[in-house]
């Protein structure tokens, strides 16, 4: 039924948007794609799962736990895999792409060793609670996911546009060298960005667990690839592009599954990538053409 699918699509899309924001923030500032982001939010999902399903703590605590762990991972990632490359002259942005791929391999397989393969149920106490809204039944979980995502996006938008830290970050994103000359501590800004992006990944991980009721060590990859598709679609480094792109992908996947074939659901993202890159390489909200420069 259309309305239900619409709600499902928006829920899924808002999670995608949060995932994509993690990529786009880092790209906006550093011009690199953090291929380890997927694995970082996968860890966030596992931390959330352990806290909620095993330790039985309330959901907000699980979010905080996931944020703490993924934020710390972001910090380590920046120190171990990104900063050493920045200080080296002539390191291309392919080098950091590859080093973050290295981190992603490491984390994915570390998760495999720690948590094992296979699905882990992600049980929330209110998984079955739903209530009628007009003609459709809405799950409480869906409402929560939507609310949290919206809060997070609004918070991020406010932070970027209103606060000093946010403005410094935007200046850094605009032009790393100039921001440095203007007295912005760019190394610190970069660390802050990666940590914030990773912490958002922690939230995304828990949301994914809530939405699908299970997690495994492959969600970093499968959801991460979608996040990449979204930022290419929305325009690399564009915050609003990530939000819009996430919603569009969530909706199109939901409707393709509902009215078409479920098998190709995961391919939609990549058809989008290839299509966008051919037709409008700068993405929906992007400005510079990617083929030139850098």
């Amino acid at each position: 039924m259309f309305l239900e699918q619409l709600i499902n699509g928006v829920t899924l899309g808002s999670i995608y948007a949060i995932v994509a924001l993690g990529y786009t923030l880092v790209f906006g500032v550093l011009d690199i794609i953090n291929m380890a982001h997927g694995e970082i939010f996968m860890f966030g999902a596992f931390v959330g799962m352990l806290l909620v399903s095993k330790a039985g703590v309330p959901l907000p605590v699980a979010f905080l736990g996931a944020i703490a762990v993924t934020g710390a991972m972001g910090f380590l990632l920046e120190r171990a895999a990104l900063r050493p490359l920045r200080s080296r002259p002539g390191a291309s942005n392919l080098a950091s792409l590859i080093s973050t791929i290295g981190v992603s391999i490491l984390l994915e397989n570390a998760a495999h060793r720690i948590f094992g393969a296979g699905n882990h149920p992600f049980e929330t106490p209110f998984a079955e609670i739903r209530f009628p809204v007009g003609p459709v039944n809405v799950y409480l979980v869906q409402v929560l996911i939507l609310l949290i995502s919206l809060l997070l996006m609004a918070g991020l938008a406010l932070w970027l546009s209103r606060t000093r830290g946010g403005k410094a970050l935007r200046a850094t994103a605009e032009d790393l060298t100039t921001a440095g000359l203007l007295g912005v501590d760019t190394d610190r800004m970069i660390t802050v960005t990666v940590v914030i992006a990773s912490a958002m990944g922690g939230v995304a991980g828990v949301l994914i667990g809530m939405a699908f009721n299970y997690i495994n060590n492959q969600i970093g990859l499968s959801m991460g690839l979608k996040g990449l598709a979204i930022i290419i679609f929305g325009g690399m480094g564009s915050v609003y592009g990530a939000m819009a792109g996430g919603l569009i992908l969530g909706l199109s996947e939901t409707f393709v599954v509902a009215y078409g074939s479920s098998g190709y659901r995961d391919a939609i993202a990549f058809v989008i990538i290839i299509g966008v890159l051919l037709v409008r390489p700068q993405g929906l909200f992007g400005q510079a053409a990617p083929g030139t420069g850098h």
Binding site: L94, G263, P281
Partner: protein, 313 residues
């Protein structure tokens, strides 16, 4: 002939397939383009060869050649975006391409067997053995058991393929086209101004890389006699990349070394093999930071050659 151990030969065969795959990513990298789609091209070669052999009973060499060519053609098609994409965009686009191919392989069940894949693909060692028996030859006359003969045959065929592939690109590297590739990698703008049609060579290199991936895939299909979409995931693409990053992409022997080293060491050290991919990850980060050109680079090769020359003198 007890020392001919089918298990060792099997490991060696995988090394050789990985050497070919390492070469495939080297070729595209030699023009400065990073492809994460080589697993996709590999699967095109594998499926084409497998289908031609199982559905149309075509001889293996025909299927392998067709698989490689088809992958090369797909590479040319995908390579056209490299006209306008560079760096990370190309990497992500090719990654997306690989996933689309895999989705097609999973969903086009009537052709590809879906997630289950294709089984009973003629295994090249067995086919050679059957042919030899028809001619009245028995492996026992060489003192070999049939399974020894089969493994040995597969190994030898792959050895020839790997050596030919590496030799092809080694020679290409020293030719006019190879110089153009290197010029494009080192300074695209200067290459253009020197009269090199950059776009043409980028697409050519991309397509050659895809073709070599397809060749590896086709050989893989006929070596294992079973393929499924799980063989050609993103992880495979990343593994191929790791060969090149670890071994070094400045010289063709780099990825070949990377493929050989990273295939053999985990097999040899069982204790490590559990942590194989974790180690891959650590290795990649360390290499990118401390030896960005990879283990093997032209100066190292020159030194080794110099030492040998010095010893000879």
């Amino acid at each position: 002939m007890e020392w001919i151990n089918p298990y060792h030969l099997q490991v060696a065969s995988f090394v050789l397939i990985n050497v070919i795959l390492g070469t495939s990513i080297y070729v595209t990298l030699s023009t400065g383009q990073l492809s994460l789609g080589n697993a996709g091209f590999m699967s095109i070669g594998a499926y084409a060869a497998a289908l031609l052999a199982t559905k149309y009973a075509l001889p293996i060499p025909v299927g392998v050649a067709a698989g490689a060519l088809l992958a090369g053609a797909a590479g040319a098609l995908v390579g056209i975006p490299s006209l306008r994409l560079s760096g990370v965009y190309l990497a992500i686009a090719t990654l997306g391409f690989g996933e689309v191919i895999r989705a097609v392989a999973i969903n086009w069940e009537s052709l590809t067997g879906g997630a289950v894949g294709i089984a009973a693909i003629p295994q090249m060692g067995r086919v050679v053995l059957a042919g030899a028996r028809d001619l009245g030859f028995s492996p026992a006359s060489l003192g070999l058991k049939p399974n020894q003969f089969i493994s040995l045959t597969v190994f030898l065929i792959l050895l020839v393929a790997a050596v030919l592939t590496v030799a092809f690109f080694l020679r290409l590297g020293r030719s006019r086209v190879g110089r153009a590739y290197a010029a494009i990698r080192l300074d695209e703008r200067a290459a253009e101004a020197s009269g090199i049609p950059v776009t043409y060579y980028k697409v050519l290199a991309f397509s050659q890389g895809a073709m070599v991936s397809g060749l590896a895939g086709a050989l893989y299909a006929h070596a294992t006699s079973f393929i499924s979409p799980a063989d050609f995931t993103y992880h495979r693409a990343v593994e191929i990349l790791v060969f090149a990053v670890f071994g070094g992409s400045g010289h063709i022997l780099g990825p070949a070394f990377g493929a050989a080293f990273l295939t053999v060491v985990p097999e040899a050290l069982r204790a490590i093999s559990h942590y194989r991919y974790i180690l891959y990850g650590v290795l990649v980060v360390l290499v990118v930071i401390y030896r960005p050109q990879g283990v093997i680079d032209p100066p190292l090769l020159r030194r080794m050659r110099g030492d040998r020359a010095a010893e000879a003198a």
